[in-house]
Amino acid sequence: MAARLITGLTSGAGYALVAIGVVLIFKGMRILSLAQGEIGAFGFLLALRWSARGVPGLGWHISPFVTMVVAVVVGALVGALVERLVVRPLATRPPLDALIATLGIALFLALLEKEMFGTAAHFAPSPVGDWKIELFGATLTAPRVIAIVALAIVAFALWLFFTRTRFGLGVLATSGDPVVARILGIPVTRVYRFVWIAAGALAGLAAALLGSAFGGIAPFDMTRFGLSALAGAVIGGLDSIWGAIIGCLAVGAIEGVVGGTFETSGTAELAVLVLVVGTLLVRPRGLLGSEAAA
């Protein structure tokens, strides 16, 4: 039980990295992105292909650690591209339009992955070493430990960013009212680009850690991880980073404990559904969300 809980929490840390990206985008643009899972997966699958078959034209077989770096960089690039081509024109339209657009992007990327890398799962060696630690009876592989560490670092960095930097304040202002932010001289388009790049990079990092933690990754796998992340973000409140972390840890824990305890398939999904709907019914804005997230 405790072992399953701990393992589940480490998966939750991975979801939280994706969910923080979702929250950043929501804070910056009032847009809910359903594409973060696939944005992360695309870079990591590409890196795994390069690791197995060599970088096209150069023939280098990149090392596991580099696969993670590639996933982060490609995630950031895809994020930037999506922001420029798709989301920016939708910034002033009803929020449902942007939601549908990110859904289309998720679908497109998943099918593109299927086209490029096939439907089979790709073996993902750990990018952070092959060591393990024992904790309350749980054996945690390196990617799981690093997921927790990375989550702590990212959370702290973002806290500094929003409370100590001018640009961070600018992001908050843009989330409050983009028109007013622009009038005050805040480069709003740069804010938009920033949140998408940061979210894409975080998704890439999460894909590399989650993918290797589960031993391998196939197209559409990250859709599932992305959904868990989304569930966590909604539970925590769409515009609260701390809420997203708590929500995702809760989702990971439930998946670990319920999924491991009951034989019947789908019980974990049922539990997550109950948690999401229950939280929203009691508190539409989520645990820590502001009124704007309701």
Binding site: L107, L230, A231
Partner: protein, 611 residues
């Protein structure tokens, strides 16, 4: 009939006739396409009319299909099996729609997503649900591809008819009201909760029928791929690429996404297998459509239709967006608007129509209305003045039932506190809002009909099928709408989208919509805001006319003192939720506390009164 409509009918007939010529195998593919198209039309009811996105429609589709097969396998005759499929889906969709009673928009989309994930991993993994190995016995006359295709077409026709009924009855108005003005619509008698559940149920019924068509086609279902999240996303793609709200566009998109790949063997230029390139193109199209063509294929059809009409009728008369001079007879006819059945409990008229006694509104620790007491007498025009945040609009909310109020507010002796907003409207109270309480995306007539929702006791669901008194009621409503629009010289604008009209005209439409309900007491919140000097002057005339010709009593919130001075018999001045002065306007505006709180030292504002 417009030339464009004739052309559309002709084209639809041509496509239908041609579809029978494609051969049996292809016809069977088309049955599958129609099933998906019907599912998409069901999703569209939610997306276009209520503004909510469901990502669980593939799961609903599956529930419909599986239930139909299961029911058939248990020996139910086929019509009952289909009915079982539809009913099961209605129940599932209504349950999935329950969270929308409490949350909105994005969050609802997420809960439906969670429902989809739950359905595919919990429900569709059980053999007792998935109907594996079971079989539906088709009646002999449905054996054969042509017969099945005709059956699917009949189902499509049913769905299109249902969508048409939704569009022209109370259901449509309730839907767009909860989509755009949920809280305010309560004053019109629209109940958001039941309305949303009705939308989910209707959407579920259509998708359930789609599932039944799928089941009839297959007989038995072995794979669950058509019911997974991926297909939910494809349904969204079909609706958006086709164009939200456009049935023809959605049918076209369904064929492009689901059918075309089976009709071509190879895709030119890229030279790829169609079943690999088509899904990914659909995803790309979805993104492009949302970003660049939100109206979708349906939008393209509309543009073509407009062009055709312009060729045949180049003048293309466009109505003057301003109110026209009113036929004096219109005012006489409009007296019929007062003919509204009222609750018999109302007491004998007293001089005081509306009496507030220590009415109090508090929220978030702020006292917005501090034990306010005032009265409005029959036939008066009463002005309500005061600084921003003094509690004027809060008082209107308290009277119309849009906020928790304590104390007492009586209307003709009837206690209002505790009554629903719709009930208060039915007693004869109507109001306007400072910033538009109507739906811009709909026509003037639809909005005026919406305002009268509480006049129709028949539920929207019954209205869809013309049950009970609904046909007579609907006819009566339209007559009232026409009378009200004529009264304000707006008759020629009835079919113009409200959002396409100038601001000043939209304000008049809002007043016309409240008059259409035949109120005795009309609450106007800053009717002159945003109007120019001439328009303000004309507004004052119509307010006086409303009293003279329709015998109405008015309460007017205004900042524009000359208007108050001209039309009001009596004025109340509020500050921080309390009354600080009352009396005739010229007296009130001279009082030192009013000048200090509201008018200021300058003579600019009082100039109108003393002049």
């Amino acid at each position: 009939m417009k030339p464009s409509q004739a052309l559309a009918l002709f084209a639809a007939g041509g496509v239908l006739a041609a579809s029978f010529l494609v051969g049996d195998v292809k016809l069977s593919i088309l049955v599958g396409v129609l099933a998906v198209a019907i599912a998409a039309l069901g999703l569209d009811v939610l997306v276009a009319r209520v503004g909510e996105l469901s990502l669980a429609h593939a799961a609903f589709f599956g529930i419909g299909a599986f239930t139909t097969v299961n029911a058939g396998d248990r020996g139910l005759p086929w019509p009952l099996a289909i009915l079982a499929g539809v009913v099961a889906t209605v129940i599932a969709a209504t349950i999935a729609g329950l969270p929308s009673l409490r949350i909105r928009g994005l969050q609802v989309a997420i809960t439906t997503l969670a429902f989809q994930v739950f359905a595919e991993s919990f429900l569709f993994t059980r053999t007792d649900v998935t109907a594996a190995g079971r079989e539906l016995v088709r009646p002999p006359f449905l054996e054969g591809d042509v017969q099945l295709y005709c059956f699917a077409l009949v189902c499509l026709a049913l769905v299109l008819a249902l969508r048409h009924r939704i569009a022209v009855t109370k259901a449509s108005r309730s839907f767009f009201a909860v989509r755009d003005i949920e809280t305010r619509a309560k004053c019109f008698g629209v109940e958001p909760g039941p309305t949303k559940l009705l939308a989910y149920a209707l959407s579920g019924a259509i998708v359930g029928l789609a599932g039944a068509v799928f089941a009839m086609k297959a007989g038995s279902i072995s794979a669950k791929e058509p019911f997974l999240l991926f297909e939910s996303l494809q349904l969204v793609a079909i609706v958006v690429v086709g164009g939200r709200g456009s049935a023809t566009g959605i049918l076209t998109a369904a064929f492009l996404v689901k059918g075309l790949s089976q009709f071509v063997t190879t895709v030119p230029i890229v030279d790829l297998e169609p079943d690999r390139i088509f899904p990914i193109s659909a995803a790309l199209l979805l993104v492009i459509a949302v970003v660049a063509f939100p109206a979708g294929i349906g939008g393209v059809y509309r543009v073509i239709g407009r062009l055709v009409d312009e060729v045949f009728d180049p003048a293309g008369a466009r109505p003057d967006p301003r109110p026209q001079p009113v036929d004096p007879a219109a005012a006489e006819h409009a007296a019929a608007l007062r003919d509204v059945p009222r609750a018999v409990r109302l007491r004998v008229p007293t001089p005081a129509l509306l009496v507030a006694d220590a009415a109090r509104v508090e929220y978030g620790g702020i006292v917005a209305l501090d034990d306010l007491s005032l009265e409005v007498r029959r036939g008066e025009i009463v002005g309500l003045i005061g600084a921003n945040g003094a509690g004027k609009s809060t008082f209107f909310n308290a009277v119309s039932g849009l906020g928790p109020t304590t104390g007492s507010i009586t209307y003709r002796g009837e206690e209002l506190v505790g009554l629903s907003p719709a009930r208060r409207s039915a007693l004869g109270i109507a109001r306007t809002f400072q910033d538009m309480g109507l739906v811009r995306a709909e026509t003037v007539r639809q909005n005026v009909l919406l305002a009268q929702t509480w006049l129709v006791p028949t539920p929207a669901a019954a209205g869809l099928f013309g049950l009970g008194q609904s046909v007579r009621e609907e006819h009566d409503l339209r007559r009232r709408a026409d009378l009200a629009l004529e009264l304000f010289g707006l008759g020629h604008l009835a079919d113009v989208r409200l959002g396409d009209l100038p601001y000043g005209t939209t304000r008049i439409v809002e007043i016309a919509a409240s008059i259409a309900t035949g109120p005795e007491l009309l609450l106007l919140d800053e009717p002159s805001a945003g109007l120019g000097p001439e328009e303000s002057h004309a507004l004052a005339d119509s307010l006086l006319a409303l009293r003279a010709e329709l015998g109405m009593t008015l309460v007017v919130i205004e900042h524009h003192v000359p208007l108050i001075a001209r039309v009001c018999d009596y004025a109340y001045c509020l500050e921080s939720g309390s009354l600080i002065a009352e009396g005739r306007p010229d007296v009130v505006t001279q009082q030192p506390q009013v000048i200090a709180s509201f008018l200021g030292r300058s003579d600019a504002a009082t100039g109108g009164v003393s002049a």
